[in-house]
Point group: C2
Chain length 336, copies 2
Amino acid sequence: MTQMMGKQSIQFEKAPHILCGASIVGKKEGEGPLGKLFDEIEEDPMAGQASWEEAESALQKRAAQMAIKKAGPSCGPVRYLFAGDLLGQLIATSFGVMDLQIPLFGLYGACSTMGEALMLGAMTVQAGYADTVLALTSSHFASAEKQFRFPLEYGGQRPLAATWTVTGSGAFVLAPKGGKARISGVTPGKVVDYGLKDSLNMGACMAPAACDTIYQNLVDFGRSPSDYDAIVTGDLGSVGQTILLELLDKKGFDIAKQHLDCGMMIFDAQSQDTHAGGSGCGCSAVTLAAKLLPMLEKGQWKRILFVPTGALLSTVSYNEGQAVPGIAHGVVIEHC
Amino acid sequence: MTQMMGKQSIQFEKAPHILCGASIVGKKEGEGPLGKLFDEIEEDPMAGQASWEEAESALQKRAAQMAIKKAGPSCGPVRYLFAGDLLGQLIATSFGVMDLQIPLFGLYGACSTMGEALMLGAMTVQAGYADTVLALTSSHFASAEKQFRFPLEYGGQRPLAATWTVTGSGAFVLAPKGGKARISGVTPGKVVDYGLKDSLNMGACMAPAACDTIYQNLVDFGRSPSDYDAIVTGDLGSVGQTILLELLDKKGFDIAKQHLDCGMMIFDAQSQDTHAGGSGCGCSAVTLAAKLLPMLEKGQWKRILFVPTGALLSTVSYNEGQAVPGIAHGVVIEHC
C-alpha cells in the first residue's frame, strides 16, 4: 500500500504515536476557559528572565523538559527536535533549545508551525529515522507585539478582527508505540493568497489556506466531514471561522458541526477582551496538549483533523505593501 | 539494517538521488571564480522588482522553475517543497514560492538551511512520502544587510572577519532514481554556543558547530576524513576555517587536506573586497549546484560531506546582548 494519498497527503502504515503532550502558558491563558487543563501556568510574563524573548525561550525549554519527563525513561533519549516560533530568525527556539543538546530542525510556518513540527516528526518516526522525537513551538504576547506591531507602552487600539497572541509553549513526544493517540496521516499545505492586506485581520488572511488544506485532506483521504469528530483550526478566530465555513460550503463541504478553533477555545473573548480570539504558534500547541489530545486519549473523540494556520507576513513585507498570504497544515490524530 | 547511525546520523538504504541542481546569482558572484559555472547571472540587483526582498523572492522562483525544467517532464510534479531564507518570517520564501502552488515546509537554519532542506527532502523521498521534492534556499546581499546590519547608504566599514552575503538562489530536485549523485546519509546538527558575541565574525561563531557535526558524522559512520574526497562547509570563511581545523585537530581529526568552504570558493577575497568570504543561505546552495554537484556527477569526486553552517542571531538577540550560537547540518553526497 502506497503511503502517498491523493494530491498532497500521506497515510502512515505504522502510525507514530503521541506519547504525551506538555503545556505551559501565561497568566491570561490560565484565567481562560482551558485554564485548569494546562500543566503549568507561569504568572510572571518575564518568566524570571531579562527580556520577553528570553522569557519565551524559557517557556520552550520548560515545555520540552516537561514533555520528556512525562514520556518517562522508557522512551529513550530524544533523537531529533522539530521546533519553531514566530520571532525573526527563530530566536526563541535557538536560545530555548540550546541546552537540550538535541539535533534541531528549525521550522517556520508562522502560527501553523506546530502542524509542520508534528508532520515532520511523524514522518521521521514512521520511517525509522528515530525512535523518539520532540515537536515544540511557542509564542509570547509581548515578544510578538514587539516583533509585529507596536510597543506595548503605546497602548494602540486593536480592531475587533484582531487576535491576541497566546503566551505559551506546547511540546509533544512522538514514538513508534506507547500513549493513547497516534498520527495516522498528514496533509502539508500550500501558500494561499487571496490578496488580503490587513495584518490585524489574520483570521480572514488564513481562512483560505485552512479551506484549501481541509478540502484537500477530505478529497485525498476520501472522507466526509463526519469522518472526523472534530476539525480543529489553529487560530482563525471568530472572523476567520465565518469565512472558512462559507468557503468550504462553496466547495461542497459543510463542516459547521465539526469545526472548532483553538483561538476561540483558549480565551473567553467577551470577558477577556481578546476580540476575535487567541493566536500564535503557542495557541494551537497548548490547546492540543491540554484539551484536544486528552479528548482523544480518553476515547471521547476517535479521530480529529488538527489544522494549525499561519499568516505569512513580516513588518518588512507589510510595510512594503505586500499581501498577507496564509498556510495551513493538516494532521490526522486518532485514538488508539 | 537499521537506518539510524550512531548518536545522530541516518544512513539511507535506498539513497535518494539528486536529479539536478540549478543556480542563479547576482553580478558580483558572476564575476567571481565560479562565475562561468552558474546557470544564470542576474545583473540587476533588484531583479526587475520593487524591493530587495521581492528581488530575492524572484531569484527563488526562477531557481525553482529552472531546476524543475532541468529535471524534465519524466520526473513528474514536485510533491513537496523544502525551502527557507534568512529574512524574518521567511518572507523571501513565502512570496517566492507562492505561485508554484506546491505544499511547503518552511525551514529556518540561518545559512545552514540548504543542509536542512536536503536532509528533510532526502528523508521524505526515501521513506516513500513523495516521488519528487524540491530543496530551495536563497539570500540577497542587500536584503540581508537591511535585515541584519546597516542601511547600504550608511557605507559602514566592515572588519576583516566579516563575510559578504551572497546574492543567489539554489534549487535541487530529489527523486528515488535518476541523475548521477545521491544523498547516502545525513547528520542533523545541534545548536552549539561558545559564547562568542561578534556578529561580524560569524565564521568564528559557526566553526564550533561545524566541528561538532563533522566530528559526529565521522564517528557515527565510522569514517576517517580520507573517506571523503572533500568536506565542504557552507560559509565559515577564512577566519572560521582556521578555527574549525584547529578544533577538529584537537578532537583527533585532521581534515586540512579535505576541507573546502563555499564562502571561500565563491569570491576572490583579495580582488573582490569580500574579506573573509561569502555567506548566506544562497552561498552553499549555489556553490553546490554550480561546482560541487558537477564534480560528483562527473565522478571526479566519489563522496563528499557537505556541511552548510548557520549563525543563529537576529538584531533583537544581538541588541539584547545574546551570544551568536551556530548550527551545521551534514549531508553525505556520493557519485552514482
